[in-house]
Structure formats: C-alpha cells, structure tokens
Symmetry: C2
Subunit: 245 residues, 2 copies
C-alpha cells in the first residue's frame, strides 16, 4: 500500500463544501468517486481542510492509500480527465506512509476578496463579497497589525468549533487594493472555525468606519464572538496554500 | 423625449451575446424587457458594441429614448434592482438628443486573459483561456509592437465583417503577467469583427514559439485572414471601456 498526496483546486460555488454530507454534493465525494473508478479500488481520501459550503480553494490537500502502479505524479493527469471542470488537481505525488494532512506542522494561507465600488461588478461577484461604501485601506492595515502574532482568537471563532485551544499564531495579514478589488491575505499556523471570515467581516467594519482600528485590540481581548464583526460570506474566501514542515 | 446613456457590465457566460437573436437570450433583450417594465414604455436600446456570445463586458454602452421623469443618474439604481445578477448598470445619465453610441469618435479598450500554467485553475477558467505550454511574454511584447499604430488589419478580420475599410489605429497593446495570468490590454479607435480575439490567438502562438515576433509584421502585410493565428475563445475577452470624444 502506498500513500499519495493531492493538491486540489476547486470553484466551491456548486459544492456543499469539502466534507461528505447527506444533503448535497461535496468535493470529497466527487474525488472519492472518480479516484475509485480510476484506480478500481474503494478510495477514501483524507482532506487537510474541510472548507465550508461555497468556499473556494487553489491549494487544498488530500491523501489516500492505494495499491495502484500509476506513478504518483501521473495520477493528476489521469484524474483531471475524469473530474468535472470546477475541480482540478494541481499536483499529485507519492508521500511517506505516515504522512497525515491534518496532524503535521503546517502554515495555511487564505485570501479574502472584497469588491469595493458604488456598483457590483458581475465579473467579480462569483469570487468576492461586494461592499458599496468606501473602505479605508490604511485603517484596515492598522487594524490588521493587532491580529498578527500569537493570540487567543476566541472572539473570532464560530460556536461550532470544538478545539482544545483557541490560541493561534498569525504570521502575516496583508491588505491591498487593486482597483476596486480589496484583497486580504492571511497566513497562520492554523485557523478556528470561520476565523478568516470573521476577521474579514471585522476588518470590513474597520474599513467602512463602523469600528476604529484599535477596537480590534479590544475585540481580541474580549474572547467573545459577539464582540467581533459579522462572518463575511463564503464566496469571497479561498484557501491558497498549505505548507508542510 | 429625452436620451439616456447606460454603462453596462455583464458576465457573458450565459448570454448569446449582445444583439437580439431568435435562438437564445441576449443582453440587449434583457435590458429592453426590464427597462420597458421599469419605465412603462416600449424601450429599444441601441448598443455601442455588439459583443459576441460568451464575451464579457465591464463598460459596454447603450442609449435609449424615454419620456420618464426619473432623473438620468437614478435609473441605474432602479434598473439594477430588476436585472439578473450577471448584468449590472455601472452608470446612467441623460445625454444630448443626438448622441449615438456607434456614430461618434471613440476609443475602445478590451482585455484578453490567458491562464498559463501546467494545470487549469477552476477559479480562473470562467474568464480566461487556458494555455498549458509556457509562454514567453517578452516575445509577445515584441510582436505586439508591430500591431500598435495605424494598419490595414484585414488579416485580423473574420469573414463575417462587412465594413468599408479594414484600416484601424491601435493606440496601445500591453501584455503583462500576474502570476499565472497573462493579460493583453488593447486600445484602439475601432475593431473589426473578431479582431481582438484573432490578435490574442496570434500572440498566443508567438508566446508558445509557433510564430516568431517578426512574423506578425508579415501577417499584417499579407492582408489575409488565413495567415494569422486562431480566434481565441470568447470567454477570455472583456470589453473594458468605451471613451467618447
């Protein structure tokens, strides 16, 4: 038995997220089906990040075990011919038998896109959240500086989270504007349930002036979800990369 | 009777182009329907650019005449509430009664997007054409320098075109790479039928090494469509802006 790692890109619009569930099609289910057909074995992948319904990914990671003789790096080509167009394997490779995508030291990078203009732009609405009021990027950058570092992010965790600790370390949180598109790029050693979307919703409130940048410091210290901003919509979020150490 | 100008953005994926036709829904038809309902008059818009099936736009222009008392700049808000999400009016305004969107001096700007990597990226495939072989951007830029200026672009015109002259002036043709995305931005005083897509298809061939940059000079001089490259797919093209003088 050999273990293989896949780097998976998908447009999450038409999926009920990553993880298999009874009421709707998921990325995990589609990958299991097509891998099982391709390799003529009963394949059950293990995903690194169970992205929510509607969230996109460029570099999610999954592993599976197989007896196949297809070389690891060739699986991507064969699998892509079978997959629907909104899921594309970016890389496939054989890895150590004990490699587990969730129980390793990782750095994850997410990006959240906001389209900030007077009117929506249909060429961006599939992959960004629309904000109609002007946003002050410098104030958002100032607020972001409070988020970088090791903190207890309980204020940025949806109640559904059941982790041992709500302490996480954020290495980078960059905010930039490209025309009407505002991009938040965040890198950390792990993220709580809905954490990136709650950070995005909170920074949107800073951008539009509802919160002051220094309010974010108080929100972190409160360790209370009700003090932070809203959970920004799923479609603006994409998982960019998972790095393993 | 007053004349109004609309600046229209749309995702062309689900439309059979701009112009009304019997077999499929078009942007023109959707605008006529919703404007007529909103203004309670029989409205027939005149479009500046009859974009092809699947082509996108951020700044196409249309005009219509109406007796409405709604101020020109308010029509956008009222109309956007009725339109499907893939068509959004960016601006509405009253203009001179004799303003015609096609019989004026204009500069049009188009953008063509190519996703150039080993594997497709589902987050870009709706708005770009995928090229799997590496592309040399510098060679494409060199080839582009032959296209800028006033030339007879007969080699870059699909047979369907029925214009008096095939001479056009290109003011700018910029090619840049942003990660795996290659963007061609072209500005001119007018474009022949399929001209931007044939230029994009020809420059793609330069990028992948099938043509040399200087071949583009020979292609222009030939005044023969069969000498140029393929018509690049519609989904990579977007009409960015029409400037009136």
């Amino acid at each position: 038995m050999k273990r293989f790692k896949l780097t998976v890109a998908y447009d999450g619009t038409n999926y009920c997220g990553w993880q298999i569930q009874p009421n709707g099609i998921t990325v995990e289910e589609v990958l299991n089906t097509h891998l099982s057909e391709l390799l003529k074995e009963d394949i059950h992948i293990i995903g690194a990040s169970r992205t929510d319904s509607g969230v996109h990914a460029y570099g999610n990671v999954a592993v599976f075990d197989s007896e196949t003789r297809i070389p690891g790096e060739k699986i991507s080509y064969a699998l892509n011919q079978r997959l629907p167009k909104d899921i594309v394997i970016q890389k496939s490779e054989q890895v150590a038998d004990d490699f587990h995508p969730r129980y390793c030291d990782t750095r994850k990078t997410y990006e959240y896109q906001i389209y900030n203009a007077e009117f929506e732009n249909p060429l961006f609405s599939r992959y960004s959240h629309f904000v109609g009021r002007p946003m002050d990027i410098e104030k958002m950058q100032e607020a972001a500086s409070y988020i970088v570092g090791e903190h207890d992010f309980a204020s940025f965790c949806a109640s559904k989270g059941q982790q041992k600790t709500t302490v996480r370390e954020i290495y980078e949180l960059n905010i930039c504007r490209e025309g009407n598109l505002v991009k938040l790029r965040i890198k950390g050693n792990g993220f709580l349930y809905n954490m990136v979307r709650i950070i995005a919703g909170t920074l949107m409130h800073v951008g539009t002036g509802l919160y002051k940048p220094e309010d974010v410091k108080v929100i972190i210290e409160a360790k209370d979800r009700s003090k932070a901003g809203p959970t920004a919509p799923a479609k603006g979020l994409r998982l960019i990369e998972i790095e393993y150490f």
